[in-house]
């Protein structure tokens, strides 16, 4: 087994900016000289459905997909989506969850209930220290751009990848966004990193 390869699984709902976030992680790793691969699905899978992105980096990466039980960090941009991929998490791995609910169709229609106590479930299962809840929408609003939830999440992710300096993240982030939203996004990144 190639233990040097680290795997992140980003999950959420179409439109949350997950693919941009995973692109940025990849670019940061590439700048650091790592080999990196990422994988996601486009097309039919995008229309309000689940979106996942696997990001893997290390000295040499073969598979762009992580296997179950081998992911170091699950980052869920939506609360209940965190539950869908828990079998991917490595023992002792980290779960970062954005505190935002987006109802699936059956919940909208009143046919199913949105699961309750998600954070408690996660904490009981993985331990308090391995579950990080981020108030994404609140922090993005505070940064001055409600759409910057993905950047808030990037900030939080960055804190748990100590081998990469904060400035390296910000450099790639700033170069990946249109100029007029850079400032708010850098702020969102800071707030996410401090969360």
């Amino acid at each position: 087994m190639n233990n040097r390869v680290k795997s992140l699984l980003l999950a959420g709902v179409g439109g949350q900016g997950i693919l941009l976030a995973s692109d940025i992680i990849c670019k940061v790793m590439m700048e650091k000289g790592c080999d990196v691969k990422k994988s996601e699905v486009h097309g039919m899978a995008q229309r309000g459905g689940c979106v996942t992105s696997h990001v893997r980096y290390g000295s040499k990466v073969f598979s762009p997909l992580a296997r179950k039980g081998d992911v170091d960090m699950i980052v869920s941009f939506e609360k209940l989506e965190a539950l869908r991929y828990l079998d991917y998490l490595k023992p002792g791995g980290l779960v970062i969850v954005n505190d935002e609910e987006i109802y699936p169709p059956s919940v909208n229609l009143g046919e199913a209930d949105y699961p309750e106590g998600i954070f408690e479930t996660l904490r009981a299962r993985f331990g308090e220290q391995n579950v990080k809840v981020v108030a994404g929408p609140e922090l993005a609003a505070k940064a001055g751009n409600r759409r910057a939830v993905n950047t808030v999440m990037l900030g939080t992710i960055s804190r748990f990848i100590p081998e990469i300096a904060e400035a390296d993240w910000k450099k790639v982030l700033a170069s990946s966004l249109p100029e007029k939203i850079v400032e708010a996004n850098l702020k969102a990144f800071d707030l996410g990193r401090a969360a």
Binding site: K37, M44, R47, F62, L65, R67, G69, L109, G110, Y114
Partner: protein, 596 residues
């Protein structure tokens, strides 16, 4: 320079670097970004053709003229292009012709899971299969070279994971361009009447033999010796999964999957004790290796269906998984859905109410088969809706009266709906045909087509007029409606269903994603909690912006004046586009546009 690229971007880059100047095709996940990306390079010609057959024929023409041309399509697109495919294998290419097929193991965005490596063998065309973005770029260049060297079309096969995963690619400059185009009259080679085709048929076999020989020393068919205990024969993305799971085994990684290098396979097999063939979908390599008399393990332990990952390989080889057993709690599924404000919602809501059999087609609107819209009864392939509706109405005879509808999207109609509509007019169908015209190829990400008025490279084009076309094909009754006008949509449907003979309804309203790029959003709608009686009619149109708020669960006080009411509908202002459909459905006038 190193750059992070998807397989699709890398293919476009590689084609451009090696002097390919011509690309044609039809959008289809996971292939779409190849042509979109190629079209951005300077000095190339790239077009969306109406369908893959036309796209391939256009590329054949360019190759006959001496250009380096590619035809790009998803796996099922090759079915559409199969007719020219099998014969261009005989004629050869003069210039270079590369056909890119993007297969979709796991059916992420497709109606079937066919393995197009079979086409390579069937049509006697060499096929290269890259495993990552760097190889995608290298192999497309090689494909053009091979095509010229052996006077043959060449397949480049990707799968969704190759096309849509990103990895690091070394960027190179474009090779010096050389114009080799000219008119060359070669009727014995290009006029495939029987006498000429018989002669070319022999050439195809000679060519295949020569390619077999070439494959024996092709560096892309690579041996990586590790442990002599286990050898793995593999190609494409599954190579990465196997290397990830078992880095210490020996590998024969095939870059060319048709034809196979027999001596190389025999040599490799003689060096290892046990051999696995790791390939997704069909036992394409496995069966051929077995036919060489070599004992291998393949589909006995690896699945026929779905894409693999490293865990699948591990389980196949060891019989068990190293992942900790985790039971997931049951959570509500999150299927893809029509967007808030999608005009298809109005059409399919109305269709559901007609109780007709709705023969559907391929596009976003296929999602309307799901509850609560439940507005579609069948979907087979691009263009099938019209023929199926016509056939059904003929077979049912009088029982079909007012009960059979065929619905097809604008891009899909152009792709392969025109001959079936002509047929329905010619053979006097009684069905109603609807073009769900949202002014774009929405599902694959907003590509232009002949009715949008623009080409792939942004040139202004002549706009196809669906109503005039319908009349010209022989349909006398042609109506244009706005599907978001619910009352009118219902009335027109009712009227046309009662008519004798074929009717064409053009249900026209632009895709909401297209609108969001162009115009400011309309003001959103809100429900009036005092007027809402909790009847759930608005919820029945399945709009993601509307949700049910249960009094008890949400802690809202119940209504003393309406004891039976259990809750109210609420509209998410951030999602609502102001399309007005739900407001038209609400009989209580409880849904109104937000003031201010």
């Amino acid at each position: 320079m190193r750059e992070l690229m998807s397989g699709n971007e890398a293919i476009a880059r590689g084609a451009w670097e090696c002097g390919a100047t011509f690309g044609a095709g039809y959008p289809g996940t996971p292939s779409t970004e190849i042509l979109e990306s190629f079209a951005q390079y300077k000095g190339v010609y790239a077009e969306w053709s109406p369908n893959e057959k036309v796209g391939l024929e256009v590329a054949i023409g360019a190759a006959f003229a001496g250009a380096r041309a590619m035809a790009v399509m998803k796996h099922v697109g090759v079915n559409v292009a199969a007719d020219p495919l099998f014969t261009v294998s005989y004629t050869g290419t003069n210039g270079a012709l590369v056909i890119i097929t993007a297969d979709d193991p796991s059916l992420h965005s497709s109606q079937n899971e066919q393995d197009n490596r079979n086409y390579a063998k069937f049509a006697k065309i060499p096929m290269l299969e890259p495993a990552d973005s760097q190889e995608a770029k290298d192999f497309v260049k090689l494909a053009f070279e091979l095509s010229e060297k052996f006077d043959t079309p060449v397949f480049l096969r990707t799968t969704t994971r190759v096309s849509h995963s990103k990895s690091v690619v070394r960027i190179e400059p474009q090779a010096p361009l050389e114009d080799r185009t000219d008119i060359r009259h070669l009727p014995l080679k290009y006029v495939m009447v029987p006498i000429n085709a018989r002669a070319r048929r022999v050439e195809v076999e000679k060519r295949t033999q020569a390619l077999r020989e070439w494959a024996e020393t092709f560096p892309g068919n690579r041996v990586e010796m590790g442990s002599a205990e286990v050898g793995i024969i593999t190609a494409g993305m599954p190579y990465n999964y196997a290397k990830d799971a078992f880095p210490d085994y020996s590998y024969l990684k095939l870059g060319l999957v048709n034809p196979l290098p027999e001596r190389l396979i025999r040599d490799f097999s003689a060096k290892v004790k046990k051999i696995y063939v790791v390939e997704e979908l069909d036992p394409f390599i496995e069966e051929q290796v077995r036919a060489m008399g070599i004992e291998v393990t393949g589909k006995a332990v690896f699945p026929y269906t779905n894409e693999f990952d490293p865990g699948v390989i591990e389980k196949g080889v060891t019989g068990k998984s190293s992942a900790p057993a985790v039971t997931l709690q049951a959570i509500p599924p999150r299927p893809p859905n029509l967007c808030p404000g999608c005009p298809h919602r109005g059409l399919f809501y109305a269709l559901n109410k007609t109780k007709a059999f709705v023969s559907g087609d391929i596009g976003c609107y296929t999602l309307s088969y799901m509850k609560p819209l439940a507005g579609m009864d069948s979907c087979i392939c691009m263009g099938a809706s019209i023929g199926i509706a016509h056939g059904m109405s003929k077979a049912l005879g009088p029982k079909a009266k007012g009960k059979v509808v065929g619905v097809i999207g604008d891009s899909t109609f152009i792709h392969s709906g025109i001959p079936p509509l002509l047929n329905a007019a010619y053979n006097r169908s009684d069905a109603v045909f609807i073009i769900a015209d949202n002014r774009t190829t929405a599902m694959t990400g907003m590509q232009d087509h002949p009715a949008t008025g623009y080409t792939l490279q942004g040139e202004k084009a002549k706009e196809l007029d669906f109503a005039a076309l319908g009349k010209a094909l022989g349909v006398d009754s042609v109506e244009v409606i706005d599907p978001l006008q619910f009352k009118n949509t219902t009335e027109v449907l009712k009227r046309e269903l009662q008519k004798d003979g074929p009717s064409l309804i053009i249900s026209r309203s632009p895709c909401v994603l297209l609108m969001s790029k162009k115009a400011a959003r309309a003001k959103h709608f809100v429900t009036d909690p005092d007027k809402c009686i909790g009847c759930k009619v608005c919820l029945s149109c399945g709009c993601p912006a509307i949700s049910w708020k249960d009094f008890e669960k949400s802690g809202m006080p119940p209504r003393p004046e309406r004891k039976k009411q259990k809750g109210i509908a609420v509209i998410d202002a951030a999602l609502c586009t102001g399309c007005t459909l739900c407001a038209q459905l609400c009989r209580q006038e409880a849904i109104t546009r937000e003031d201010g």
